[in-house]
């Protein structure tokens, strides 16, 4: 009962792909992004199974072997290092000033850095998307009020707020006599090596940028005709948001979030570096660098190892974000 004269033959037989599949194919073709992705995966795997992968426990000490290095490492140490350094092959990347295995600490530190990257980005992605989508979709006065709140929060210097929050949380930790919910939180925080409060501090701040991006995206899509068509059909608001808006706006949000991850990792490292991050002896790349700095001249390897991992991870996330952006941006499509 075809009424129009369009040819009905099936000449075009090719695989049907959604935009997601096409994006994925574009991502796979991007070598740098794939290498970065693999690096992140390997790092995540190592971090997740740190107990099995790491040769020693992160807090295990051998004070007789403190500041020791394996023989090959002498190349990166100062020329006269042989005179003062302890050479032992017990630790593949040497030991720190307390005689703890640097490799094991870097591996456990990856756990902190990566879980921080994952949790911070998830928290800010979820809160930000939710907040921004609602604000943009509802529009009008609600949008104004919600966005002014965001502007207000944005006006605070980010690091200062995080530092203040961390100081406050740490002070809470030292103060005795906490009961109920607060005590419970402190307990959880201690068992996580001080990471919980770090998550909260970062989570409270970082969703703001996401909310703005999400709102902008929603605004650009909500007047599109396909959204109007959904209204005309009688689709509910939640259906329109979930089925029509979110799939279209999630791409740029994920890209922005991936590109923000290095920032989170750096923030954690920075806070740990100044002593407001995780609690010792929980290793984090920032703490390791911070602890090794006093002996930088004599034992540069103790700074270099975590710094290299930090840089590589940051680079990997940056490349991955770039790759994702190229893959998800329809304008890049040939």
């Amino acid at each position: 009962m075809a009424v129009a004269e369009l040819p009905q033959e099936q000449t075009l037989v090719r695989k049907q792909r959604s935009l997601w599949e096409e994006s994925f194919i574009r991502l796979i073709r991007n070598k740098v992004a794939v290498v970065s992705l693999l690096f992140v995966f390997v790092l995540a795997f190592v971090a997740a199974f740190a107990n099995y992968v790491a040769p020693y426990d992160y807090a295990e000490q051998d004070l007789m072997a403190n500041n020791s290095v394996p023989k090959w490492m002498l190349v990166i140490l100062p020329a006269n290092a042989e005179n003062y350094v302890r050479i032992t092959d017990k630790y593949p990347l040497g030991a720190d000033h307390l005689g703890r295995d640097i490799l094991s600490r870097v591996i456990y530190g990856a756990r902190v850095s990566l879980s921080f990257a994952v949790v911070a980005s998830m928290v800010s992605l979820i809160i930000g998307t939710l907040y921004g989508t609602i604000s943009g979709y509802v529009g009008g006065r609600a949008d104004d009020v919600m966005m002014r709140i965001v502007d207000f929060l944005y006006a605070f210097p980010f690091l200062v707020v995080v530092i203040l929050l961390q100081t406050y949380f740490k002070a809470l930790g030292r103060a005795s006599g906490m009961t109920g919910f607060g005590a419970k939180l402190l307990e959880i925080n201690d068992s996580m090596g001080g990471m919980l409060f770090l998550f909260i501090a970062i989570g409270l701040i970082n969703w703001i940028g996401m909310a703005r991006i999400a709102r902008g995206q929603v605004l650009s899509y909500k007047r599109k005709e396909f959204v109007e068509a959904a209204h005309a059909v009688g689709a509910s608001n939640s259906r329109i948001i979930i089925k029509h808006l979110l799939p279209n706006i999630i791409g740029p949000l994920v890209v922005a979030e991936t590109l923000a991850i290095p920032g989170y990792i750096f923030t954690e490292a920075f806070l740990s570096f100044i002593g407001l991050g995780v609690n010792p002896p929980t290793p984090s790349w920032g703490i390791m660098i911070s602890e090794a700095v006093p002996a930088l001249r004599s034992y540069p390897n103790q700074v270099l190892v975590p710094a290299v991992f930090l840089s590589l991870t940051t680079l990997a996330f940056n490349f991955l974000g770039d790759g994702l952006r190229d893959a998800l941006d329809p304008r890049m499509k040939q």
């Binding site: 009424v3 129009a4 004269e5 099936q10 792909r17 935009l19 005709e225 109007e228 068509a229 005309a232």
Partner: protein, 326 residues
């Protein structure tokens, strides 16, 4: 007013978009009077053409009728049911009877959904049939609009403009509506494709007894498809008549000017054709002229035109016009 099988009756429909100033504490400083006290009706099974230049409120009228914009005032009766009073579930239920086809076939399909999901959405929203029955219905609909049912798993970016418009039509037909607003459905298409889509719309109308409100600015296309034509100017319907009557005997000066702009495909006639060139620009709908909205540009304007708003009256059977001079 003739009462024969009127499907849709629009009474003094008005849509003003507020212009606000200020952050958080907002103050309304004016309104874009996109549609202002528009009245007409559409008979069952007919096509009412709605023409007018860009920005005159054609699309807003169509969307306000469908309650995609809630009207500022006025009534829209669909089979004696006032749509403007409906809310929530009742309105949703009524939407099964009225659908819309959009102008831009690139913006009107969600790029993240497959054709099958797009066409099945109305069925899903109204919970009609099982998943399998919906698939069958979608295939049937694709066939109906001249698309291969094999395309069901494809995505919009794999189609041409004309094919996308057919997908949009299939979606509009999914719920078996009685009334469809065609919002410039062919303006964005190539001329060769326009004819195909118009023919498709006509055949579907015949087959299902559809009623169309056909919004367009292509006068010859409107003449071809419409039974009656309404002419809009700056948020007002200025004239409405049966199509041959309107083209043969345009009464409103604006209609006359508009029709004189249509080229005639006959060099002899074309050479003698007198164009009425209007002076000036369309005034802003934020601050429309008092009295007859057309008076500042009207070649025949008189004293009264700038003072009193002309009444919308039936000057001859089925020929409505709003002008003091006729």
């Amino acid at each position: 007013m003739s009462q024969d099988n009127i499907l849709l009756r629009v009474e003094k429909l008005t849509k003003h978009f507020p212009i606000t100033r200020g952050i958080v504490i907002q103050k309304q400083v004016g309104a874009v009077q996109a549609v202002d006290k528009v009245s007409f009706f559409v008979r069952e099974g007919e096509t009412l053409g709605l023409v007018g230049e860009s920005g005159c409120g054609k699309s807003t009228t169509g969307r306000t009728i469908l309650q995609l914009y809630r009207p500022t005032s006025g009534k829209v009766y669909f089979r004696d049911q006032d749509l403007t009073q409906l809310e929530g579930e009742d309105l949703r239920h009524m939407r099964r009877n009225m659908q819309i086809i959009f102008q831009d076939p690139y913006a009107s399909l969600n790029p993240r959904m497959s054709v099958g999901d797009i066409v099945a959405e109305p069925l899903e929203v109204h919970r009609i049939g099982t998943r399998k029955e919906q698939r069958e219905r979608v295939k049937e609909l694709l066939n109906l609009v001249g698309l291969n049912p094999y395309f069901i798993n494809r995505y919009p970016h794999e189609f041409s403009g004309g094919q996308r418009q057919r997908i949009g039509i299939a979606r509009a037909l999914a719920l078996n509506p009685e009334f469809i607003v065609c919002d410039e459905p062919i303006s964005a298409l190539d001329v060769s494709i326009q004819a195909q889509v118009v023919n498709l719309l006509e055949e579907l109308q015949e087959q299902f007894g559809l009623t169309y409100l056909f919004i367009a600015h292509d006068l010859s296309m409107v003449r071809h498809i419409s039974n009656r034509i309404a002419v809009m100017y700056l948020g007002k319907v200025v004239e409405l008549a049966e199509r041959n009557e309107l083209y043969a005997n345009p009464l409103h000066p604006y209609t006359q000017a508009l029709l004189s702009a249509v080229p005639v495909p006959d060099p002899v006639v074309e050479r003698q054709r007198q164009r009425i060139i209007l002076q000036g620009d369309v005034p802003s709908p934020v601050n429309p002229p008092a009295g007859c909205r057309f008076h500042p540009r009207c070649p025949l304007a008189q004293e009264i035109c700038s003072q009193e708003e002309p009444e919308w009256r039936e000057i001859a059977p089925d020929h409505w016009v709003a002008c003091h001079l006729v």
